[in-house]
């Protein structure tokens, strides 16, 4: 769980980090991605989005790649990828554990 204050990623954190896996994105693109990916289940408020972008930047999980007027784009870093991978494995283990118990 390197790079984070404590505990696992929350859903919004997880999906924001996920949004950078394929390409660089700006704020509005991230919101669109999360909405589409979760079919509207996870709603990303602007306060949450911009706080997360600042937090991830501070923790070195993402890096700013360009500024075009008020539009800033970001990419995921190696550290960000590692954190995402770690979280993915944790979630996978959670699902496996749940399924095992249900059978």
């Amino acid at each position: 769980m390197a790079g984070r204050e404590k505990g696992p990623l929350t859903e919004p954190m997880y999906y924001v980090l996920m949004s950078f896996l394929r390409r660089e994105r700006c704020g509005t693109e991230i919101t669109g991605f999360v909405e589409e990916k979760t079919q509207g289940r996870v709603k990303l408020g602007p306060g949450t989005l911009y706080t997360l972008l600042a937090k991830f930047q501070e923790e070195g999980l993402i890096a700013e790649t360009g500024v075009d007027g008020r539009k800033r784009t970001y990419r995921i870093t190696d550290k960000g990828l590692a954190v995402f991978q770690e979280e993915l494995e944790r979630l996978r283990a959670c699902v496996t554990d749940g399924e095992e118990e249900r059978q």
Binding site: T28, K43, G45, G47, T51, R70
Partner: protein, 405 residues
């Protein structure tokens, strides 16, 4: 015209009660009052009247950068309009579209956003307490001797109480600041646990102008402090040597020759006071009319214990030396002197300490002495009258006599 007039309401809760303030503002919108601006220092919110409708108001913690224009524009793009800001604390945004997601949709992220605010609040509190504490400490240290002397003599008996009150006020400020930080940290823990925020209890707030409360209270405190600080317990009386504790000599007794030029009734006076540490405190000035005439000033203290006498001697001897140096350095005062020699210790039978100095006062020979004997402390300035040896003998004679009071 009336519709354009802003409606002013006192804030019903602390600004750190995020949910409480949001709920209150949302409720006001349902009553047709829409937030226009929020004056934190005046503890008031100003509303514009309109048709009642649901509007959400949300607080967004200020991050590292104040007046973040980029943030405001980005939020506006996502349906949240900037309304006002509480300096260094929160931005206030509103949204009247129920479909737009909450400003903060993740409690844990909001907790992170509050981190900077908590740190800033802690720093502000420290500054708020440290700055006046430093000032108070500086003032106390700069006047340390006077302060200690006053504790012994109670010439200004309310002065320590005012200082105690100020220290209490600083402590209350520190406790209040710490309480706010504790509340914010508790809020963060709640958010970290993914729990929704709970609104705190609302205060009863009279809708009086802020100044109507603040101004009279401040004026009253200032007035009382000023009266207390300036109150002098000493009694100022016409000189009557027979009313003092010992048969102290006046100028007439100090002189061997008659003093026709003296008009002591115009320029002579005495002061008396008492305190638990120094039950007998007397001062008298006996002087001729005008500049350059003989002068006698005597301060006598009888302390309750030898240790109080020692402390008092140290303070008063220092004060006398300081005054003499000041008069030696200034030429335009009626008390100006020249040729001051430093205090030198002298051996004298029966006395614990005796120090003397000499000077010239408008062409007259002058001397000063400070002595301590057991619980007694005596300080004298004399010019144009008896020499030191005779003056000292007369004073010690008087000191040896039984108290007449």
């Amino acid at each position: 015209m009336k519709r354009n007039k802003l409606v002013k309401k006192p804030l019903p809760c602390s600004i750190f009660d995020i949910q409480g303030l949001q709920d209150w503002l949302d409720g006001m919108a349902l009553q047709g009052l829409f937030l226009e601006r929020l004056s934190y220092h005046n503890d008031r919110a100003f509303f514009r009247r309109g048709e009642p409708r649901p509007v959400r108001y949300r607080l967004d913690p200020v991050g590292e950068h104040w007046n973040d224009v980029e943030r405001k524009e980005n939020y506006a793009q996502m349906g949240w309009e900037f309304v006002d800001a509480i300096p260094r604390t929160f931005y206030l945004f509103s949204c009247d579209d129920p479909e737009v997601p909450e400003l903060h949709s993740d409690p844990a992220t909001l907790s992170y956003a509050l981190k900077t605010l908590v740190r800033r609040q802690r720093q502000d509190n420290m500054l708020l307490v440290l700055a006046p504490t430093t000032l108070l400490a500086f003032l106390l240290l700069a006047n340390w001797n006077e302060f200690c002397a006053n504790l012994l003599l109670w010439e200004h008996p309310f002065q320590p109480l005012v200082i105690l009150f100020l220290v209490g006020l600083l402590l209350a400020l520190a406790v209040y600041g710490m309480y706010q930080v504790i509340r914010l940290n508790k809020l963060r823990r709640t958010l970290d646990d993914g729990l929704p925020l709970q609104a705190g209890r609302r205060h009863w707030r009279p809708n009086l102008p802020y100044l109507a409360i603040f101004l009279p209270v401040t004026l009253l405190i200032n007035l009382l402090s000023s009266l207390a600080m300036n109150y002098v317990a000493m009694e100022f009386l016409d000189l009557d040597l027979s009313a003092l504790s010992h048969p102290w000599p006046g100028l007439a007794q100090m002189e061997t020759a008659p003093l026709p030029a003296l008009r002591p009734e115009h320029y002579s006076y005495m002061t008396v006071n008492r305190s638990p540490a120094v039950p007998v405190q007397e001062h008298y000035t006996d002087r001729g009319a005008g500049f350059g005439k003989p002068l006698l000033k005597v301060w006598y203290y009888q302390a309750a214990s030898p240790s109080a006498a020692r402390r008092l001697y140290h303070l008063k001897r220092k004060e006398l030396e300081k005054d003499l140096k000041h008069y030696n350095d200034t030429s335009n005062s009626s008390e100006s002197i020249t040729g001051l020699t430093p205090f030198v210790p002298m051996e004298y039978p029966g006395l614990d300490v005796l120090e003397t100095a000499s000077y010239r006062y408008s062409g007259l020979d002058g001397w000063a002495l400070a002595l301590r004997r057991g619980n007694d402390v005596l300080l004298v300035r004399c010019a144009g009258s008896a020499p030191l040896e005779r003056g000292l003998a007369l004073l010690l004679d008087a000191l040896g006599e039984e108290e007449v009071l």
